[in-house]
């Protein structure tokens, strides 16, 4: 999906499902005296108040930006830390047999534990608060980056090593000249998946004992039965996650122009 290649037809089709969904939602909540689910119009009004204030002027008015920044900093901070640890570790596991034998079994046992199952332990270790959320994001992004880096680095076509050797590349230079560029598409896939997971996990991480962040207001608003705020928060996370992924894809298209899968 290249932005410059988007046809009118694609845009119309892409918008059809959400538009129909909102329409159905509107009809279902229309004219009901009492509804658990607010109408899309009510949610839109609430979102506007959350973002800019001036309608309800309550505790939540105009706070969206602050919550968004709190979540963004945790998502990108945790993701960056995960990349910083997972990239070199993945390269070592993929290329160095000793490191692989040392770390791989342990990682294989830790991997099936869902990130959410770490939450109670994280709260015990890091306390109730943003540090637990940060840790969960780190963990959520860590495995996709690590596994795809290992895969990419391990699966460099053997022929390319022969080609490099016969052209005069020294064994010490092979990693930078061959392994790293050849595994970039896999590494990139790992980073993209990792960032996606970071957005998934952030909400869980912020749901307990955190004062700021989109996950925090969603959870808090539920307790106050402010369902419009719950849905406003969900929509905001969806849009941010989407934009975040678009940014990564755009970077990928620029950096991996040579790859038939990305270029």
């Amino acid at each position: 999906m290249t932005p410059q290649g988007l046809s009118t037809r694609q845009v119309v089709l892409a918008l059809a499902a959400p538009v129909l969904g909102v329409l159905a939602w509107h009809l279902a909540t229309q004219g009901q005296a009492y509804s658990l689910i607010p109408s899309p119009y009510d949610v839109a009004v609430q979102w506007w108040d959350l973002a800019f204030g001036g309608i309800w002027d309550d505790l939540y008015s105009g706070t969206l930006l602050a919550h968004t920044f709190a979540s963004l900093s945790r998502v990108y901070g945790g993701f960056a830390l995960a990349a910083l640890v997972a990239l070199p570790m993945g390269m070592l596991i993929g290329r160095v047999a000793v490191v692989r034998d040392l770390l791989d079994p342990t990682l294989q046992i830790l991997r099936p534990i869902p990130v959410t199952a770490w939450l109670p332990l994280a709260m015990i270790v890091f306390g109730i608060g943003p540090r637990s959320a940060f840790f969960l994001v780190f963990l959520g992004a860590f495995y996709p980056i690590l596994l795809n880096t290992i895969f990419g680095v391990k699966n460099v076509e053997g022929r390319l090593f022969e080609a490099a050797a016969m052209l005069g590349v020294s064994p010490q230079a092979v990693f930078w000249k061959v392994v790293l560029p050849a595994s970039l598409p896999s590494i990139f896939t790992g980073l993209r998946l990792g960032l996606g997971f970071a957005w998934v996990v952030i909400v869980v991480g912020e749901m307990t004992g955190v004062q700021t962040g989109l996950g925090a207001i969603i959870m808090e608003a539920r307790q106050l039965s402010r369902t419009e705020i719950v849905i406003s928060g969900m929509v905001t996370i969806g849009v941010l996650g989407f934009l975040s992924d678009q940014l990564v894809q755009w970077l990928g298209r620029r950096l991996l122009r040579w790859s038939p899968q990305h270029g």
Binding site: M166, L167, G168
Partner: protein, 271 residues
């Protein structure tokens, strides 16, 4: 290929057919190669000897399993001999090196580099100055007729174009010996014929020594000064014959066909 190259035409006597034997560029002495295959030992190549003079174009021909690719890979330095020795200019071959350039059937191009970067890869890896790398790469991209595709990536090229890049890459790296492992085997007939002619032209201009593996008799006769015939089970050399036909060779001529029948008979039921 166009005239963009500045490589000189070879002198007529430069083909190494002298009477007094000079030092051969490649000297393969009683080489045997055994592979462990589970608990078993498979002899891929048995007691092969071959002396190659500088400038010769030699085809190794034979059915699969005759050890022709194994022999080529040992010359390249990718495999080591179980017994016997392989010498280049009298010195044992210790591993892969830029003096022996390999052209693979599956190209082995670096997909993240453009055509001109692939061709300049060898000189760049060996630490040549940037300006020199670019100039050399451009010259050889021109030589193989890919000027218009200099900035294309491998996945945007046809098989024939990829193989041209692979050849240019080896030439740009100053390879004295060019090893070719069924390089045109994956190409369509028309592309193959064009590349064969272009290869002969480059070979003559650049005074290359070529060791070319094929299982196609016609290709071997069209290209070679000498044809080395190999046979499987275990792989060994069964004949080593000079091709005396003048170049350019006409595959439809009577003499060409007579040779074709001769080599087909030598290869027995395999062709």
């Amino acid at each position: 290929m166009d005239d963009a190259t500045s490589l000189p035409r070879p002198a007529a006597e430069g083909r190494g057919r002298g009477g007094a034997a000079p030092l051969p560029i490649l000297d393969i002495q009683r080489v045997t190669k055994r592979f462990a295959f589970g608990a078993e030992q498979i002899t891929a190549l048995s007691d092969a000897s071959l002396r190659i003079a500088k400038g010769e174009f030699i085809c190794l021909i034979g059915p699969s399993g005759c050890g022709k690719s194994t022999l080529l890979r040992m010359v390249a330095g990718f495999e080591t001999a179980s017994t016997g020795s392989l010498l280049m200019w009298g010195k044992p071959i210790a591993g892969p090196g830029p003096d022996r350039g390999m052209v693979f059937q599956d190209y082995g191009l670096f997909p993240w580099l453009t055509v001109v970067q692939n061709v300049g890869f060898g000189p760049a890896a060996r630490g040549r100055p940037k300006a020199e790398v670019t100039a050399t790469a451009k010259r050889f991209v021109d030589l193989v007729g890919l000027t218009r595709f200099a900035d294309a990536y491998p996945h945007q090229l046809s098989g024939g174009m990829k193989q041209r890049v692979a050849i240019a890459r080896v030439l740009a790296n100053d390879a004295e010996v060019v090893l070719m492992d069924e390089p045109f085997g994956a190409l369509d007939a028309m592309t193959r014929e064009r590349l064969q002619e272009e290869l002969l032209e480059v070979w003559a201009r650049a005074k290359l020594t070529v060791l070319f593996v094929t299982h196609a008799i016609e290709e071997a006769i069209f290209l070679s000064d000498r044809i080395v015939v190999m046979s499987p089970g275990p792989g060994r050399i069964i004949a080593d014959e000079r091709v005396a036909l003048p170049r350019p060779r006409d595959p439809t001529s009577l003499e060409f066909n007579a040779l074709r029948r001769r080599f087909a008979a030598m290869l027995g039921g395999h062709h």
